[in-house]
């Protein structure tokens, strides 16, 4: 058991985001300003109130802006302040919140903005071509790999191990895209059926077009404040009560892909810190990383929300719907809202913040949610970050 001698309680006090779209006209800088400004306004703060800034964005190769962390410092409100960029692949959007939380929890800052962004549209012919460079350059890339390969290999292994049908997995895409109909920033909200997913073009079997989230442009921002400051800013601070992070080996071809141990250990850390023993009973609302529909199920099992191979059954029974007992991705997730990598994770943190503050409008989950969990997954499909919040 780990012990956490944390100095100060930290709360999330504001959030903001842009529209998520396949292509935004805004430059990276303009997107970041929009998100930060909205987060500040929502908390009634000005940039002068901010002591430190964390920026989060995934590979520089997406938008071809080298050192893209420094590229947006001014727009992030970080000029002449402590500024740190997090780049931990797909986990960035949640990992960076852990950075921001730790900066405030340690007493280094009272107020810290954490802004996430991704602009994938500049990369041609397709942003996937940038992803391609994450493969081993000597023993994998010469095979002509494309990004979907590893996910198709993982999905197939997961399906094989538990005898899961494609129909069961497609239900996640149906649910999340429908949830996104109520999200005003969503890129691909849709009312679709399981048949639509199964009839969509095959990318890399078993992954089909509608099993995948889209590439996107977008930015989101969250503000963290220390306890004394947070209480002055708002009557409803949303407290960070648990954080967790874990990475498995980069040698993905040497491990069995059917179970995400990285998610398991990241979850265990966060549960331990939050004194949560039974996450399914003690956490009310979940935003789980879903760049592919099967990943929501895979991660639910990794995060111990059900036994191995049991997530499809819960989905089928409607447990993970907004009005269900364990709502997962009420925002619409990456499948519906869009997947501007770091900002995808950032959106999930915003959603938990809004859900716990009962500000989610039509997306508000039915149960009285007081504890929520945001999760992101990334690197070479090997890492997870977890943030647990409570009102």
């Amino acid at each position: 058991m780990m012990h956490f001698p944390i100095k100060r309680r930290v709360a999330v006090v504001g959030a903001g985001m842009t529209l998520y779209r396949r292509r935004l006209q805004e430059t990276t800088k303009e997107m970041v300003f929009h998100a930060v400004k909205m987060a500040l306004d929502s908390a009634g703060l000005t940039i002068k109130d901010v002591d430190a800034v964390v920026g989060g964005s995934a590979p520089d190769l997406f938008d071809g802006i080298h050192m893209k962390g420094e590229n947006v410092i001014t727009e992030a409100g970080g000029a002449l302040k402590p500024y740190l960029r997090n780049f931990t692949g797909g986990t960035t959007g949640v990992s960076q919140q852990i950075n921001a939380w730790s900066i405030v929890a340690s007493g280094l800052a009272d107020v810290c903005i954490s802004v996430s962004w991704e602009k994938m549209s500049p990369c041609h012919p397709h942003p996937q071509y940038a992803f391609w460079t994450i493969f081993d350059r000597i023993i994998e890339r010469p095979l002509g790999v494309n990004l979907v390969w590893i996910f198709a290999l993982e999905m197939n292994r997961y399906m094989h191990k538990h005898n899961i049908k494609k129909e069961d997995i497609a239900l996640v895409a149906v649910k999340n895209k429908a949830n996104a109909l109520d999200h005003p920033c969503a890129q691909l909200p849709a009312k679709i059926t399981v048949e639509d997913v199964l009839n969509s073009p095959v990318m890399c079997w078993p992954v089909q077009r509608l099993d995948i989230s889209p590439p996107s442009d977008g930015a989101s921002a969250v503000i963290f404040a220390s306890e004394d400051v947070a209480k002055k800013i708002t009557d409803t601070p949303v407290w960070v009560i648990g954080v967790g992070r874990c990475e498995d080996t980069t040698y993905w071809m040497n491990r069995d892909l059917y179970f995400p141990y990285y998610a398991y250990y990241a979850g265990q850390q966060a549960y331990s810190m939050a004194h949560i023993h039974n996450p399914r009973k003690e956490i009310d609302v979940f935003e789980i990383y879903d760049p592919f529909d099967y990943k929501e199920l895979h991660h639910m099992e990794g995060l111990r929300l059900c036994g191995k191979g049991e997530a499809p059954k819960l989905t089928r029974e409607g447990v993970t719907q907004r009005d269900g007992d364990m709502p997962v991705n009420p925002s619409g997730g990456l499948m519906g809202v869009g997947n501007p990598i770091a900002a995808g994770g950032g959106m999930k943190v915003c959603e938990i913040f809004w859900q716990l503050r009962k500000e989610a409008g039509k997306r508000q989950v039915k149960k009285d949610a007081t504890v929520g969990l945001a999760h992101a997954w990334g690197e070479l499909m090997q890492g997870s970050s977890v943030l647990i919040m409570k009102v």
């Binding site: 935004l24 929502s42 000597i138 994998e140 290999l153 992954v207 071809m253």
Partner: protein, 173 residues
């Protein structure tokens, strides 16, 4: 979205807006070229592929045979101990059928099966196996099965260059 916020910023564009020059754009052909050292372990691995052999590194402490080889054992946090040749046979740990080319948009004429090959090595350990990613050949996509026994099909010696593609593919046996 929060009910307290009424408008979200952003100007969405379509591909035609960019191709049709409705908005101004600027183009950067990235075109970066690299030469990477293969390193000690993978360098030897490639050299042996040219010889038609698969080589791994042994850690005597945990008993693993590491493929792809590394000069250190990341479990025992110590240097690995010796080289060992292994058989070019294995089983399919997982597979997929790709319909897309490397660029992620071009569709292949013939869908191609790919797999993680779990190599036949003497040491069997939980949560680890020796293996790598490769193509499957001489098999129809619909006939590929989990656990299928496969064997490497090599290029002729004069065509090998010391690359993972010196193995043409793995075929069922």
């Amino acid at each position: 979205m929060s009910v307290k916020i009424s408008k979200y910023p952003g100007v969405g564009l379509k591909e035609e807006d960019i191709k049709g020059k409705k908005v101004l754009t600027t183009v950067w052909p990235c075109n970066l070229k690299y030469s990477w050292s293969a390193g000690v372990a993978v360098g030897r691995f490639l050299t042996e592929l040219k010889n038609g052999k698969i080589i791994g590194r042994v850690c005597k402490k945990c008993g693993r045979i590491l493929i792809p080889p590394r000069m250190y054992c990341e479990w025992c946090w110590k240097p690995t101990d010796e080289w060992v040749y292994v058989k070019d046979t294995g089983t399919i740990n997982t597979y997929a059928i790709t319909h897309l080319a490397t660029d992620g948009v071009t569709r292949l004429k013939e869908p191609m099966p790919i797999a993680v090959i779990q190599l036949d090595v003497p040491a069997k350990l939980p949560r680890f196996f020796a293996g790598f990613l490769h193509y499957l050949g001489e098999v129809k996509p619909e006939d590929v099965k989990f656990g299928m026994k496969v064997k490497a099909v090599w290029k002729p010696p004069e065509e090998r260059i010391g690359s993972i593609t010196d193995i043409k593919y793995f075929k069922p046996v």
